[in-house]
Amino acid sequence: MLDKTFHLSDRELLLAADRELPARRQVGVREHLAGCASCRARMSEMARTLGAAAESCRGLPTPMPPPSAARAQLRLRLTELSRQPRHSRAFWIGSWAVACGVVLAASIGLGALLGRRTAHSFGAVDHTAAVFLLPRADLTPGMARPVNLTDICGTGGRPQLIPVSLHERVFESYGADFRRSAEYELDYLITPALGGTPDARNLWPQPFTGTAWNAYVKDELELRLHRLVCDGALDVGTAQLELASNWIAAYKRHFNTERPLRDYAASPLTEHDGDLLRGELEELGLATPEDSANGPRLLAMVQAGRQGTVLRVLSLPAGE
């Protein structure tokens, strides 16, 4: 039995609240509290203070990004991990390398979903797509506006839309069939996340499929470069130049590989993942693509939408 003339210490009150005191002491404290209004008041006062502090923590970070993309990405990576032998060191290294590697994930199963199973092994190139692997230097030298780190490393811009007329013009200049536009991403050579502008001289039709070096792989490089720039590890100008000169070479350099890091046969994303991603797209004010069951593409769109890079043609009904 505790003496009522003495009060419990704050420390003891805290521990008692979590039932972490030795059993006998716990009983004594409970009895004391029953008869001591002052200690009870102190106990609830401390709880209030801690609660308020915790409440302040709950508001951060602002804004809290929705979990859909991260969840989908996690699922892809878990599936990948399941397929690998245990304790593979390569995965660890790989997974750090692709830290934000949405896009790799995005290459999963695209071929299968589009009904064009990847007959191409890594490195092999489809001739119809080959011309667009890299943009033509005369048509698409790359254009960027002057930017500083505050502009590009903040919360991310608003999604931009490219007028259909511009989209058509770019296809025309490349001699690409606009009716097959869904197979291509009208991609920025220099990503807007690094200052690239929506200018015909900075756009080209980049294939989603038919080659291992597809639009998703380039997105992956863009994320990597953006990260490096915002970490202060790479100059913006250098990053722009790397994208504009030869993005495939840059990819090989930055990921220390001769081939894109991943190629999957099927997407393990479930309907639930798809719903979450579509929900986020809606929040971003972006239309879902026609093949909205395509998880990797949804994921790539969400990422692009968050980054404020163009949601390209996908967000505009084709042929409108």
Binding site: A17, T49, E55, R71, S82
Partner: protein
């Protein structure tokens, strides 16, 4: 999910009934990890961001935590307190990531642009003190606390029991109580004063 302290008593965070869930196959394990992701992603992300890590870096880091969890469970690792486990791994990865970022920034240009980037808005208590809002004052005081004290408050706010906090931070139970007592006193002085 997180416990709210009420006026009358300090509520205990519920212990997770995770011990019973034992997925054996890889697919079941994936679902289990994703369920835990749904439950803890937000609070883990908040926790690692409190280390001054950017949100996008934080998102990567949280992914790593759950990949590590998958490996842990697949290797028949213990399930006795997965909540504590998650926060402990997140804590360690966050420390590592922050140190790594600082090294990178030091190595490359330490000019004012880079300095601007590492400045977490959360870590600027003086400015925030000018705001009258009580909540912001609490926040400012919180940010002015020694890092370990701040982590204690944050982890408690994330629903961890003192015992779990002690494990995450690698300190004793008494250490947690002492830290929180100190923080409460400072917070109260700031709010009332």
């Amino acid at each position: 999910m997180s416990p709210r302290a009420t006026d009358s008593s300090i509520e205990l965070p519920p212990l997770l009934a995770l011990e019973s869930a034992r997925a054996t196959d890889a697919a079941g394990l994936e679902e289990e990890v994703l369920d835990l992701f749904d439950t803890f992603r937000d609070s883990l992300l908040r926790y690692v961001c409190a280390f001054g890590i950017s949100v996008s870096d934080g998102e990567d880091l949280v992914q790593e935590v759950f990949l590590a969890l998958f490996r842990h469970l697949r290797g028949n690792g213990g399930r006795s307190n997965l909540r504590g486990w998650l926060f402990r791994v997140a804590h360690n990865l966050a420390l590592k990531r922050r140190a790594q970022r600082r090294r990178e920034q030091d190595r490359f240009h330490a000019d004012e642009r880079a300095a601007h980037l590492v400045l977490d808005p959360v870590h600027n208590p003086e400015e925030q003190l000018t705001d009258r809002e009580q909540r912001e004052r609490a926040m400012a005081v919180l940010n002015a606390l020694p890092e370990r004290d701040r982590h204690c408050v944050h982890l408690r706010g994330s629903g961890l029991r003192y015992r779990e906090i002690a494990q995450v931070l690698g300190i004793s139970l008494g250490g947690v109580a002492k830290s929180l007592t100190r923080s409460i006193a400072r917070l109260q002085r700031a709010i009332e004063g």
